[in-house]
Symmetry: C2
Subunit: 331 residues, 2 copies
């Protein structure tokens, strides 16, 4: 956003290019480590809307100019778990191609100078979803009415449960974790602060999902969003709803992974629609720090939340002019 937030790093790194195979394979077949002097400019992602951010000396992800996203591994189990999950997923031949496209490509791990100046730290190398985007509108939706998992520590469970109850996770089966909505060249983006996002109520979520595809986002009132871009972004055979439905069909069947506390990212380009082009609506799943093996059971927690999000998006498509939507049981 601002110049001051664009940090750059000259990195001397050791890269292990064979990390794309599962952890267990790496042990059986030691990779031929290729040591390389790797010079590139890394910077803070311009369009990050949720999660830890590499600003003001904090630890966060970085991106380069070639479309790669470097996510610092957390010290605890989350770091190793996320590597294991990406490794397993990227080498799993049972993931159909039309599903794989919803996940960022994984290029292994790499030791890099951490953004908080704490020295070398392993980073996941992922595809930068937003590298081709100019003025994207982005929403990060954490899926699941439960963001904890049975094997977690009691403290962690209670912490998550509290947050699930305080946010819309429990009631809606998902919560908005962050967003930015591009307005126009003049108004730029609307990007509410974390504090505000964490307080979103069920009604706020209804409004935000409409605001996300509206042209009149700069009005003070949230009530009469025009939903001008609803059909272009949410609708159509390549729209966000169609993509969410494809994911849903897979989640009804797959029992390989449980995506605990994982987010669906929805992105599109408003400027491109205004120029008569394609909005480029895109859905992606990110954040696998708490994902794990499904052991033969579907991820009913993710699926339920996904279906709830789908219902909200469908309602906007069915009735873009109506607000607030009906929902009472009085016949």
């Amino acid at each position: 956003q601002t110049l001051s937030s664009l940090l750059s790093f000259l990195c001397l790194s050791v890269s292990a290019h064979t990390c794309v195979s599962p952890a267990i394979d790496r042990i059986a077949h030691p990779p031929s480590l290729r040591l390389s002097l790797h010079c590139s400019m890394l910077k803070v992602p311009e369009h990050q809307v949720a999660g830890h951010q590499a600003r003001d000396g904090k630890l966060g992800p970085l991106v380069d100019d070639s479309g790669r996203f470097y996510k610092p591994l957390q010290d605890d189990d989350r770091g190793s778990n996320e590597v294991a999950l990406y490794s397993s997923f990227s080498s799993n031949t049972r993931i159909p191609d039309h599903i794989r496209r919803f996940f960022p490509n994984f290029y292994g791990t790499q030791l890099l100078e951490a953004s908080n100046g704490s020295g070398l730290r392993p980073h996941l190398i992922l595809q930068d979803l937003l590298s081709d985007r100019v003025n994207p509108s982005i929403m990060d939706v954490k899926i699941g009415s439960r963001t904890w998992y049975p094997q977690a520590s009691e403290d962690y469970i209670q912490k998550c449960l509290k947050k699930d109850r305080e946010t819309t996770s429990l009631s809606l089966g998902f919560r908005i974790s962050g967003l930015q909505i591009y307005g126009s060249k003049e108004s730029r983006v609307w990007k509410p602060e974390k504090k505000l996002v964490h307080k979103f109520t069920v009604d706020d979520v209804r409004v935000i999902l409409r605001k996300f595809v509206s042209s009149n986002i700069s009005t003070n009132s949230n009530v009469n969003m025009d939903c001008s871009f609803a059909q272009t972004v949410y609708g159509g055979s390549a729209g966000i709803l169609a993509q969410l439905m494809e994911l849903k069909a897979w989640f009804e069947d797959q029992t390989m992974y449980h995506f605990n506390s994982c987010s669906v990212i929805m992105v599109y380009e408003k400027e491109s629609v205004l120029k008569g082009g394609n909005a480029g609506p895109q859905v992606q799943l990110v954040d696998f720090a708490h994902a794990m093996e499904g052991k033969g059971v579907i991820d009913h927690n993710f699926l339920g939340g996904l279906c709830s999000l789908i219902k909200f998006v469908s309602e906007i498509l069915i009735d873009p002019d109506e607000y607030p939507s009906k929902g009472c049981s009085e016949g």
Copy 2:
């Protein structure tokens, strides 16, 4: 089952036949109460597999000979809530007929001698799902990975959460609450005790769902269930899977009710199949003591659990001979 458990009651009752309209309507339009001297023989249901049972001086439901099921109302909110829910549901014109058949008919409430001898108590009058069954196999499956709801008391939430974590609710999105499997005229039924049912693990549930449609249930080993009746009971256009799928489609869309802690009952007649007839597979939803208005949000908790049950049943149909089923993510 045994003669000693067949209690009978001579009932002097006051029946309010207009209770089928919603509570709020009853206040606006006072019903013309019809006082009637109502004499009938009530007895303990022969085939109840879960919930409170009216045996040994305890409070529980009763049935009559005309196909009605009398469920005593609980003293606390659960009682009034269940009446309100049945009233709302039965008068709700937005419930399609093909969905209504999954719910017991509701005939209002009635004051009856309680089965525990505590005197007159209001009872729900419902359709007795099992009145036409001779030797039914029955399974009661409580749906949802969460059996509590946000508005409940902290004590209640913690109690339910503990039980959800101790049973398969959390991992599977459902738990078996009770069952009986008819074997043969000689072996009669297999009806595990509550204590055993409450300890069912994920693997036990896999076995039980196979055992439910097997002919060799009296063998000691649980491993090689023959699943002889899988196609007849679970499969086909009128089978249990097809019925569960119809319910699923409705739950993806309906935002009127949240069926917290509600059960799916699955029933069929083994004898009738053996005689070349129809197994009469039937799915019904029961227990609305904690159901409530959905307020415009789908019941993602019920839907997720239902999809998980559907997946388990589908797997048996796809591969009736395989046990244990595969499910690991190793490609």
